[in-house]
Symmetry: C2
Subunit: 464 residues, 2 copies
Amino acid sequence: MRDIELKELQQHAEQYADREVTVRGWVRQNRSSNRFGFIALNDGTCFSPVQIVYEAEELGNFEEIARAPLSAGILVKGRLLLTPQAKQPFEIHAEEVTIEADSAADYPLQNKRHSMEFLREIAHLRPRANTFQAVFRVRSLVAYAIHQFFQERGFVYVHTPIITGSDAEGAGEMFQLTTLDLNDLPRTEDGSIDYTKDFFGKECNLTVSGQLEAEIFALAFRNVYTFGPTFRAENSNTARHASEFWMIEPEIAFADLADDMALAEDMVKYIINYVLEHAPAEMDFFNRFIDKGLLDRLQHVAGSEFERVTYTRAVEILQSCGEKFQYPVEWGIDLQTEHERYLTETVFKKPIFVTDYPKDIKAFYMRLNDDGKTVAACDMLVPGVGEIIGGSQREERLDVLQARMKELGLSEKDYWWYLELRKYGGVKHAGYGLGFERIIMYITGMSNIRDVLPFPRTPKTAEF
Amino acid sequence: MRDIELKELQQHAEQYADREVTVRGWVRQNRSSNRFGFIALNDGTCFSPVQIVYEAEELGNFEEIARAPLSAGILVKGRLLLTPQAKQPFEIHAEEVTIEADSAADYPLQNKRHSMEFLREIAHLRPRANTFQAVFRVRSLVAYAIHQFFQERGFVYVHTPIITGSDAEGAGEMFQLTTLDLNDLPRTEDGSIDYTKDFFGKECNLTVSGQLEAEIFALAFRNVYTFGPTFRAENSNTARHASEFWMIEPEIAFADLADDMALAEDMVKYIINYVLEHAPAEMDFFNRFIDKGLLDRLQHVAGSEFERVTYTRAVEILQSCGEKFQYPVEWGIDLQTEHERYLTETVFKKPIFVTDYPKDIKAFYMRLNDDGKTVAACDMLVPGVGEIIGGSQREERLDVLQARMKELGLSEKDYWWYLELRKYGGVKHAGYGLGFERIIMYITGMSNIRDVLPFPRTPKTAEF
């Protein structure tokens, strides 16, 4: 008899009432007297375990099962009984229990409180812990919600390259990759490293953003998005930064900054609603044990109309609000997290877009506004976190772009194809970037990026 | 008035009949007399362009529009007229046409036949060409079909790491990544490179497979899959190999090789059906211009029950079939593409799984069969291509795995966590790998992997 996944039983318990079922899973708890026992069984398909009741009278191997250790893999044949009075809606009365995979007594993930630091050291086992069962299922669901959101709207998913021959965007420090033998580097006549001998015939790095390539596709398919890993070699050990993380970068043609913000707002609400619908048990867990008030906050966000405020107006608000900030506010500064959170939490009490930043604190490709000093950029700020999305309308005017690049000392040669996009039907277009781990942290309430990444990579850490 | 995407018009033309519409797109063709003209307009949301009819009587800027060059971005206001007698189901009679983004006369992608090699050189423009409009939309749809297939079945999507500190699987040559200054490498006292100074404190590489980490998650969530980029630093310039490609690796617990093959078969059929349903115009294009017979072949595959044959039986068939092969066949060899294609195309005339390969030609983690000389592995072979999927049941018996690793000289220390998975509830499990570009080639009939990757990375090539 084929075994049934526990999720199926939990979703359709009535259908299986009083019927014989076969299930498999891992022992999450096992306690017994000398006459009967209870196993909390989980097969990983759903958050809550299923209770298995077993009795000495019924099982020939009762004593073996009573000793079945934490995390042993077992097979259970038994009858499903509805238990409307009990906490769990049903239990399975075992007629046969078999240990299919034993577990050693030194199993490190015992049922007690472990520090997050310890759990990171056993990243091969922590996905079995409640918190990480919840985190990584939600992570998977959010990834799918994002694909579904864009695909339902006809967006084309594009795999922008991971290996790149240019440090085009200059968004951060990069990892160099090579197949040269570092102990015997080939040299040119003048003594410098001969990269023509390297795998790609030149210096190559890991990408920091797929945006510039996404623009190529937006100018062919109108609406596109990327969803892939990106890398930063910054030596900063914070709870919000990882060296390897995933990013989503939609890019839309025939679109301006207002279209861009509307898309970002729709996407965030879509993700929240999707997760609340598809992971109620996990979200309830986060709300109770990780971040009290999480559900209220998310529901509030999903139901709010996000505010739009210009950077200039935001600066005025911050200057006149009477609040003392660690970093003083004046026009031209980059907003700090304290400013961002004050705006979204105290002033507007909901998510906001801050728009039209000074050009000097933003990237070269952002579209210059008519005032000549700000660009059509937007950051989405959300209560509890601060910035979660950064976007802009792109500079589509070839001459303006060239002038800006000259100002910044960027070489036209390095960007030849990016400039050509402006020569051949370069219609107005816009896009934004969403850090995937940031939104997972926001939605789960987890406070360290290392705990929403399956195998985090940070300075001096690349285990597993 | 907000513009309407052309896909929306194509899907619901009747609803818009005789109504005023505003559309935007790029000129794909423009021909005119001195009284009227026709523009084939495409906005990238659908494969077929929409015909715009414009007249001198109607447009004040008729002459400007008559000169509108290829790839110019335009806005059209006009009336949609159904044209049931014509080739296209409707056309738009322009009342106003505005050029929003001009295109220079030296636009390289003129409407004529270009070689695939030339198109690769203009990878920033080729997504606008018919072939690549079809390829990259299908690529996006297949990616989504894969996510949908697994998510509908409750699989958890896991992002296995791209940067890895181990060359665990030994599946291929790797790219090393570093932030050390190659011109000034830090040295230890004995003169070797001091990798403790490198970003991660040790030598790191780009992943060749996420399988081993996927096993971690399968033993926590039962059913999981990866979908991410993988890398091979092999210096081989073939039409089937790229240095950066995407791979899908499902891993299922409480499952054996038969379950694994059933999943792979279901997935391939699901993908084919999804694409046939969601990209009929693109698939028709491939069938007519890229690979005649493609649709028949795919429909046949979607409707077939895939055959299963052991390696040993396959070798007997190949030896006794009377066919002359370039590589002679005997038990123990790795099957070559010529053998694979003969089996699937000539002998079975449908997709097959070849199972139970000699252990000596397969990876260390594959489960040893009771005969002691074969392993529970499977390759899916399909007509027209050969191998497209490779999978296996994993060795879950700690002692057998240790013995096999010893045979191969693999260090237990390097695999400490992989071995621990077998100590703590290591139930039977299985999985497979699907090269994403391989299945795109299979489904589109495109014969070079460089033409199904947005920006291919191959030896000496990392442009864009």
